[in-house]
């Protein structure tokens, strides 16, 4: 299984490059991030947390150590997921802030992405099958246009028209004020209600990509001999579309997963900001605006890891679905 081994090796390297970029960024940029960071803490807070400055210096630079020593310390901290305290949420550790916010984002992007994939693939398949038909002429341009729309514009439109004017959805926060997160029916149903509009926006934005991918591949597949053969055998139209052409066309679009998913994770920042949805994207934006660099740095690491893990899952799925990958 050299293919799978190669992919795994790639992900290990990708993680390393992501970590290194994250390490180098604050050191390459002009200015002194550590000073901006420490300005948010008063002397008594610093005195209460011995070693905090060293942690920050390992993450951001600015200490007396050489860059190599810093790098080793930095990697060590990452492995233990120790990013110090978040200055904007003092005295909460960075890891705790992330643990609190990340589940919202994973839920949001996970559900929305699966929905966008199913919807987009179905529409792309139908559009290619009846080229120039209703689906091809109406749905494809609609979703392409929605996909080209800036996510934050779509989100603002949805917030204004569907939330504020029509009052179909709650428009702010992840659950009703007064509730506290926990595994009980009141909270979960409230959280579900509040996630609907953000999910709708992400689905609207990312379905177009799948539609286009699927349509292009499907058009090429329809020209294949085995599709003509299936027609000649007199199989029902629907069966030829789904079992013969569609089934074979569904794999190549999956290769477009990586860039689409990465941009969906990026789009989270906008959608969550607009809906004041307390996920990782919103937290990242707030952290950067508030000079809370340890939190921002940790979130970048975590979001990169999420994308890499999602890609890995996709590769494993591909490996199971595509026999060609297993033989070579």
């Amino acid at each position: 299984m050299p293919w799978l081994a190669r992919r795994l090796l790639f992900y290990v390297f990708a993680i390393w490059v992501a970590l290194t970029i994250n390490f180098l960024l604050p050191r390459m940029m002009p200015g002194d991030p550590i000073a901006g960071l420490l300005a948010h803490l008063n002397p008594s807070q610093l005195a209460a947390n011995p070693g905090l400055v060293q942690t920050y210096q390992a993450l951001l630079g600015g200490g007396d150590n050489s860059i190599w020593q810093d790098y080793v310390t930095y990697l060590g901290r990452i492995v233990h997921f120790d990013f110090g305290l978040s200055t904007s949420n003092y005295p909460t550790p960075v890891s705790e802030v992330i643990g609190r916010t990340l589940p919202y984002s994973i839920f949001l992007v996970g559900v929305a992405f699966v929905l966008a994939f199913v919807l987009g693939t179905a529409i792309g398949m139908l559009a290619a099958w009846r080229r120039g038909g209703a689906v091809d002429n109406v749905m494809v341009p609609t979703f392409m246009a929605l996909g080209a729309f800036p996510a934050f514009f779509t989100a603002l439109l949805a917030l204004y028209f569907l939330g504020l004017k029509a009052e179909w959805f709650p428009i702010q926060h992840a659950y009703e004020t007064g509730l506290s997160p926990g595994f009980n029916w009141t909270f979960l149903s409230s959280a579900f209600r509040h996630s609907q509009l953000p999910i709708l926006v992400v689905v609207a934005t990312f379905t177009g990509g799948w539609v286009l991918n699927m349509r292009t591949v499907m058009i090429n597949t329809i020209g294949e001999d085995y599709v003509t053969m299936a027609h000649a055998k007199g199989l029902p139209d629907r069966r030829v579309m789904t079992r013969y052409a569609g089934r074979n066309a569904i794999l190549p679009p999956l290769n477009g997963f990586a860039p689409l998913f990465a941009s969906a994770v990026g789009g989270l920042a906008f959608v969550e900001y607009i809906f004041s949805y307390p996920g990782a994207g919103y937290t990242l934006q707030q952290a950067v605006l508030g000079n809370d660099y340890p939190l921002a740095q940790a979130l970048l690491v975590v979001l990169s890891l999420c994308v890499i893990v999602a890609n890995l899952i996709m590769d494993l799925l591909n490996f199971v679905l595509d026999p060609r990958l297993r033989t070579n």
């Binding site: 390297f13 990708a14 120039g132 292009t216 020209g223 990465a262 920042a269 921002a296």
Partner: protein, 334 residues
Amino acid sequence: MSQLDPISLDPIALDLPVAAPGRGRHRRVRVPGWLVLLLRNPKSCTGLAMVGFVVLIALIAPLISVDHPNDFNILATRQAPSWNHLFGTTDQGSDIFSQVVLGARRSLLLGAAAGALATALAAILGITAGYVGGVFDDIVVFLTNVFLTIPAIPLLIVASGYLKSRGTGTMVLVIALVLWAFEARILRAQALSLKNRDFVLAAKAAGEPTSRIVFGELVPNMISRIAAAFVLVFYIALLTDAGLEFLGLGDQSVTSWGVTMYWAQTNSTVLQGEWWPFFFPGAALAFTVLGLVLVLAGIDEVSNPRLRTERAGRRRLFGRLVGGRAVARPETTS
């Protein structure tokens, strides 16, 4: 010569040089062939018209806007669109119409600059890697894949957080450095497919240096794909820049669509029922991006005929609707 080559039937090869069989007749009219093809395609024609309209607005912007679009005016705050203020006013009383038309300049300039820089990077790295192969190729492919895996927006958010000054030049550089990977992969794949063509082999046999082969032979033959790459990165850069400004992390001192939307969001004007501060800049951005996407779709269709919705296809559908039933489903009788 290479037109008669059977290999040139594959869609990539049909890209540009082959697409000019009728050129002999039009040789006197100096309209470039690619432009004729793009204008004949309904998608890219619409797209070019839309982008052209935005460019026109950007050019005449100072003539149709007020002198100081960001000035406060306490007497005219939060006004809905009217003849006085076509797009309404912000909650500081600034004229949104002026901000939108002047913002077109910023968006187009930044998108074009970042797009050009990222495309140049992608073309140089991607095409050279595809042609040279070996270790250099491995490194470029690896870097491309890594950049496609690391989410670009969070990376840009964090990077611009460290920047103390976020001038236009800095933003162009940062955005281009993050976005180049999008097209490098495609350009490399195409260089790979061209690398063993006769004209490249001939140049190689003639002893031309690699740089000459890349820039003198490969780049001119891939120019339509490079143009498509530019359009793609153009609109992604435009979106990214406006998005960063919207989050409060761009160059907040300029008049631009993103900044107008940032203030609309920061002052929660939407939640108070004011739709115009976010709608007009957002619609301008969406309009521009849509135009660019249509141009891109047109380029794709022109260079890959299989994607085109042919008239013949329509006729077949029409036939199916009218009388093709018996032909289409013989199985219903069994």
